[in-house]
């Protein structure tokens, strides 16, 4: 158990969620990644043989693939990985009701506002503490509608056919080095199945946090939205600040069937020593509609490019992303849209803010294959620079193989204008508040898409970050 004397490193004024709760992990695998660790994980989870084989094959791929040389600086990562616990499991059984959740975990959630949220709006909460679901409730009527909202482990146990049909098909283990790593050691995450025609009004939410020093988190989420179904899934993460580097590598696979609609919202606010390398992808079939809403505020380095593969005629993909990079942070984010079928449409809107020595990179791909007639795609990236030490890059790849495609990309870089600031302060608004107001206005087109409580939280975070930026 890590010592809580690290708490003295925390700056509570700046990070609302930087607190450490005493936890007692029940089981923890040895440090580092090896075949033994993978076997241990699989055995502990009482998995079927095929999954163990899948994991081992993925480990092999992971070992063979070189570290990516593009994107962010991963030079220190190899050492970090040696020091990571690839599996930690805090409890043995799944919790069904709030009363069963241990007090110290409840305490953490209470600080995060989960219980109120549940009492008020939230219909089902899949909350992840350390590597696994410990608390999970599902609204009765959803169960009646046949909706499955489970931990990924229970998904495998209780719905083996659906699970096996889709698992690893959207993002194969060989997709990239970190997808392979995840495939080998995944633990925790959600399994969601929305049956044909079912439409959920209230969003499904999973809130989870990493709370054990030097522990990587490898959540794996698999979501299947059947024909004509509609749902919205929200994932948010915060992590306390620790002194050594931490690591998170998730894989999110989503299948959106014919005419289904799905939105996946993430706001990540990992502590600023976290490597956050996530692969998230959706396969969208005919007439389907997929939206990624991606907010990246925390971490030391994030590399994350939510993608939509538009496989069926008329499919639509949308990626809205906000990145905030403060001192020492690098957000290397963006999105990918791949048009395979005719009449598919997509849009990417990306807004980034770089402050201090922060660096924001937009990296995106828009690909139109031959035969994707009348594909339309539009990409817009705007970057805001706060200080002269801030940096922004834009790397949009546009590959067009089809004549009647219509693809556009626009980007701009600006700083907060002196005139704009003068205008606001001349109305009596103090300068740092004016600065925060401009930044909020800058991200407004995306923030307005967020559920209210998240928008409020985002605005608050921006305000906290903007404090002291004048000078």
């Amino acid at each position: 158990m890590p010592q809580n004397d690290t708490i003295k490193d925390l700056n509570l004024d700046e990070h609302r969620y930087d607190f450490v709760t005493e936890g007692k992990p029940k089981f923890r695998a040895e440090k580092g990644l090896s075949e033994a660790v993978v076997r241990q994980i699989s055995e502990h989870k009482e998995e079927p043989e095929w999954m163990l084989e899948y994991r081992l094959k993925a480990l092999d791929i992971y070992n063979k693939k070189p570290m990516p040389t593009w994107g962010g600086d991963l030079t220190d990562l190899e050492d970090t990985l040696e020091e990571i616990y690839f599996y930690v499991r805090p409890q043995d059984k799944m919790e069904r009701s709030w009363d069963d959740v241990p007090d110290e975990i409840k305490d953490t959630f209470e600080k995060l506002g989960i219980p109120e949220a549940e009492r008020n709006v939230l219909a089902g909460v899949g909350a992840q503490y350390e590597s696994e679901m410990v608390y999970h409730s599902l609204k009765q009527e959803w169960e009646e509608q046949g909706v499955i909202f489970d931990s990924i482990e229970d998904g495998l146990k209780n719905h083996p056919e659906i699970f096996r049909e889709y698992f690893g098909t959207v993002i194969p283990a060989g997709d990239n080095k970190f997808a392979a790593m995840n495939a080998a050691v995944w633990s925790g995450g959600s399994f969601v199945y929305i049956p044909k025609g079912v439409s959920l009004e209230t969003p499904l939410q999973a809130y989870f946090r990493v709370n054990s020093e030097r522990m990587g988190q490898f959540e794996r989420t698999l979501i299947i939205v059947e024909e004509g179904a509609q749902a919205h899934y929200i994932e948010g993460c915060t992590a306390p600040v620790y002194s050594t580097e931490s690591f998170h590598s998730g894989v999110i696979e989503i299948v959106v069937k014919d005419n289904a609609r799905f939105r996946y919202t993430t706001i990540q606010n990992w502590s600023n020593n976290m490597y956050n390398l996530v692969t998230q992808r959706a396969m969208v079939e005919a007439g389907g509609h997929m939206e990624w809403l991606d907010g990246n505020l925390g971490s030391k380095l994030t590399m994350k490019y939510p993608s939509c593969y538009l496989l069926g005629e008329g499919a639509h993909g949308e990626i809205l992303s906000i990145a905030y990079s403060g001192n020492g942070q690098h957000q290397d984010t963006g999105g990918k849209v791949v048009h395979v079928a005719p009449n598919t449409t997509s849009s990417i809107v990306s807004k980034s803010i770089s402050k201090g020595t922060g660096r924001s990179t937009y990296r995106g791909l828009c690909k139109v294959y031959e035969g994707a007639h009348h594909a339309r795609s539009n990409v817009e990236c705007d970057a805001l620079l706060i200080n002269d030490t801030s940096r922004t890059d834009t790397y949009p790849y546009i590959e067009i193989d089809e004549q009647d495609a219509n693809v556009g990309h626009e980007a701009s870089v600006s700083k907060i204008g002196e005139e704009q600031l003068f205008y606001l302060t001349s109305r009596g608004i103090p300068e740092d508040e004016a600065m925060a107001m401009i930044v909020r206005g800058f991200i407004e087109p995306i923030a307005k898409e967020l559920p209210l409580e998240y928008a409020v939280e985002l605005n608050r975070l921006i305000e906290l970050e903007m404090e002291g930026s004048v000078g």
């Binding site: 801030s390 949009p396 067009i400 089809e402 495609a405 626009e410 870089v413």
Partner: protein
């Protein structure tokens, strides 16, 4: 004059012996420079598609360096009657000029320059002649600051093997009213041509330079490699135009670097119409406050043509501006790659940089890849970029046809209007008409 005819026993392939051969009789510093460049060439692996800058142009499939040999052609006579008809036709279309220079199969065979300008100290000559008459200037600038061999595989190969080139020098305060026109011709299938262009425009001078390269179809792959270095000193105004009209079979490769000092204006226009494969690397460096570069590009591809433009706008100094506009239309199974980078260095505050690439796909088999990149390390900047790929706007076409134009005429009008925006920004006499005519010819083949 330097003799580049081959002696017996010397291999004609591109190798160290060839470097020795081309450097015979040259001053020691140049021999050393060539040897060094060859060394860099040998140490630099052939770029593969794994390199970002070569992601969409697979040299392994597009270029067979081993099958090439240095051109063996003798110098043609300085007599227009003896020159190929297409070359003469290209020259006839040119309008008034301050001077001409003709290069046939790697040899500078003709130069003329307005006498008044020559008296003022303007120099237009073959690089070999310049080595004798202006050695210090050439030594200072050739393959040093602008395109050193370390720039890449092709820059190194060119620096090692160039056989001749063009030297243009415009003294302080001298302004040329009419452009300098260079016309090149290549005719040997399977040959490799390496040429350099060095332009030095001193403080407050002004010059426009148009470099056109023409050939017949070439039945075997032929490499036409250029390294272009343009220096605009303080408040100088320079326009550099490259007009590429090579025949099929040609692999056109051009590494260009422009250096704009304080308050200098250094504009470029790259027109790609011919060749099977064309790769242009253009790096515009804004070295002084108040510098400005307009960077224009225009391409029209058909059949299997492959164009690859790799540009960068390198803002080193504050208060400078650059504005890039590359537009192309692609027919048949042609393909275009545009990769642009605006790079704002940390001290380059108040940079104003724009970058736009627009592509029109005229056929179902054409393809365009565009990567307009930004790397910004200063906060007080105005930078934006945009890229589009699309087909002919059907509304526009409909509008024109509703006024009685047939489909082909309407399409032609839209395409010419689309590409015309580029030419309108650098309306040099002769260039606009010539480019428009060639595009019209190409469009006539569009069904």
């Amino acid at each position: 004059m330097h003799d580049i005819g081959f002696m017996e026993g010397i291999t004609d392939a591109l190798n160290g012996a060839a470097v020795e051969h081309v450097s015979r009789g040259e001053p020691e510093w140049l021999r050393e420079r060539r040897a060094h460049a060859w060394d860099v060439y040998e140490r630099t692996p052939l770029p593969t598609t794994k390199l970002e800058e070569w992601r969409y142009t697979d040299l392994k499939r597009k270029l067979d360096l081993d099958a090439l040999r240095l051109s063996e052609a003798e110098a043609a006579p300085d007599d227009p009657e003896a020159w190929p008809e297409r070359l003469r036709k290209a020259m006839d279309e040119d309008r008034v000029a301050a001077g001409h220079l003709v290069v046939i199969d790697g040899h500078v065979v003709h130069t003329d320059l307005d006498e008044a300008l020559a008296e003022k100290g303007v120099v237009l000559m073959s690089l070999h002649t310049a080595l004798e008459t202006h050695e210090e200037l050439v030594r200072e600038h050739l393959a040093t600051e602008a395109v050193p061999p370390e720039e890449g595989k092709f820059a190194a190969l060119n620096a090692a093997l160039w056989t001749d080139g063009i030297f243009l020098y415009v003294p302080r305060g001298v302004r040329l009213e009419h452009p300098i026109r260079v016309t090149r011709w290549v005719s040997e299938p399977g040959a490799a041509y390496f040429s350099r262009t060095l332009i030095v425009a001193e403080d407050a001078s002004q010059v426009s330079y148009v470099d056109e390269v023409v050939s017949d179809p070439l039945e075997r792959q032929t490499l036409v490699s250029n390294a272009v270095e343009v220096l605009a000193r303080q408040a100088a105004q320079v326009q550099y135009v490259s007009l590429q009209r090579l025949g099929s079979g040609a692999f056109f490769q051009s590494v260009q670097r422009t250096l704009a000092e304080r308050d200098a204006t250094l504009d470029t226009l790259n027109v790609g119409l011919g060749s099977s494969v064309s790769r242009v690397d253009l790096n515009a460096r804004l070295l002084g406050s108040g510098g400005n570069s307009d960077m224009l590009g225009l391409y029209f591809g058909d059949q299997n043509q492959h164009f690859d433009f790799n540009t960068s706008q390198d803002h080193v100094a504050p208060n400078a501006s650059s504005n890039l506009l590359y537009k192309g239309a692609l027919d048949g199974e042609s393909r275009a790659v545009f990769r642009g980078l605006i790079r704002v260095h940390p001290k380059a505050q108040r940079t104003d940089a724009y970058q736009t690439n627009r592509n029109l796909l005229l056929s179902g088999k054409a393809r365009a890849d565009t990567l307009p990149n930004l790397e910004i390390e200063a906060d007080d900047v105005k930078c934006s970029h945009g890229a589009t790929v699309g087909e002919l706007d059907s509304e526009t076409k409909f509008y024109l046809m509703s006024r009685g134009l047939d489909r082909i005429t309407a399409e032609r009008m839209v395409v010419l209007g689309f590409l015309g925006e580029v030419l309108a920004r650098l309306p040099l006499g002769g260039v606009v008409e010539k480019v428009t005519r060639v595009i019209e010819e190409k469009l006539a083949g569009h069904g």
